[in-house]
Symmetry: C2
Subunit: 142 residues, 2 copies
DNA sequence: AACATTTAAGACTTATGATTCCTAAATATA
DNA sequence: TATATTTAGGAATCATAAGTCTTAAATGTT
């Protein structure tokens, strides 16, 4: 499993937020219902992203959560790291101790290539680009 | 984390086996010591790979485990699947229910590309190729 | 001020994987 | 046959992640 389940949920939450953003706060309960995720789980996840500076919240009636920055100023990696910590993809595919470029294990170069692509997926695109529905329509002609 | 820790250990075990293969059975204890992995853990992992038909074992003095097939006839994906099950990379990066090519979620195409590369790493190369030290020397000029 | 709504935060339980331990079975060797 | 070696396999423990619940704090509405 590449991503933890809570990170999957975090991405779903973000996608929902972007698609329903209209400068108002959106209730976590609404997102939980629409995305079919437990409210309790989602509110914990939201809290992590708030601490990471991705979301802000407002307590009370008409309250909820919303994005702090513009979707085009957030990378997917920011979301991933806000949940899983900053060293998700620093880790290697094997557990060898004294390794790396100078003393590579047998799969080093292969894993390096794959990680490059994964990183590119997480860093190369902003949330705006990733979530852009028109782009998807073009590709899949839906 | 892409791979479970036990899968990391499985790959380490396989690498050791290939590099020390001389048609004899190799004791799990020896591998455990050399790879610095708990013997108990490694013997469980070995049992899984035996059930998957990758290794065979022999009980008693001079016993141990060895590869069933030639390293050039085994794909890395076989090792991974023997430990984690066959649907490791079938799963999607998100948890959406009704999705896929016809109804792609917002990151479908990006994850598809990355998964392609990972699969290629696991399926495209045989263990022989991956473990080949000369190939590594060439690339890293070690 | 009283009440309803909504996030905040911690406690608690459950599920899953990692790790360790122990006994049995197989088999070579003396 | 007795003994030492080595895998087989289950039981038990520990760690971490996932999921649930409960109470507190903030704040708009009446
Ligand atoms: S040599 Fe490279 S692939 Fe191998 S364990 Fe080290 S960092 Fe990972
Ligand atoms: S649409 Fe594609 S990327 Fe999205 S959840 Fe489904 S299979 Fe995964």
């Amino acid at each position: 499993m590449l991503l933890a389940k809570s990170t999957e949920n975090a991405i779903q939450l973000i996608i929902y937020l972007i698609r329903h953003a209209d400068n108002d706060y959106i209730r976590v309960k609404e997102i939980a219902e629409q995305c079919n995720i437990s409210f309790f789980i989602l509110s914990k996840i939201a809290q992590k992203m708030i601490k990471a500076g991705i979301l802000e919240s407002y307590t009370g009636p008409n309250g909820g959560i919303k994005l702090v920055k513009n979707p085009s100023d957030i990378q997917l990696i920011d979301v991933v790291q806000s949940i899983e910590g900053t060293d998700v993809l620093d880790k290697c595919i094997l557990g060898f101790e004294h390794c790396g470029e100078m003393n590579p294990c047998a799969v080093h170069q292969h894993w390096k290539e794959a990680r490059e692509v994964i990183l590119n997926m997480f860093e190369g695109k902003t949330l705006k680009e990733i979530i852009d529905i028109d782009e998807l329509k073009e590709v899949y002609s839906v």
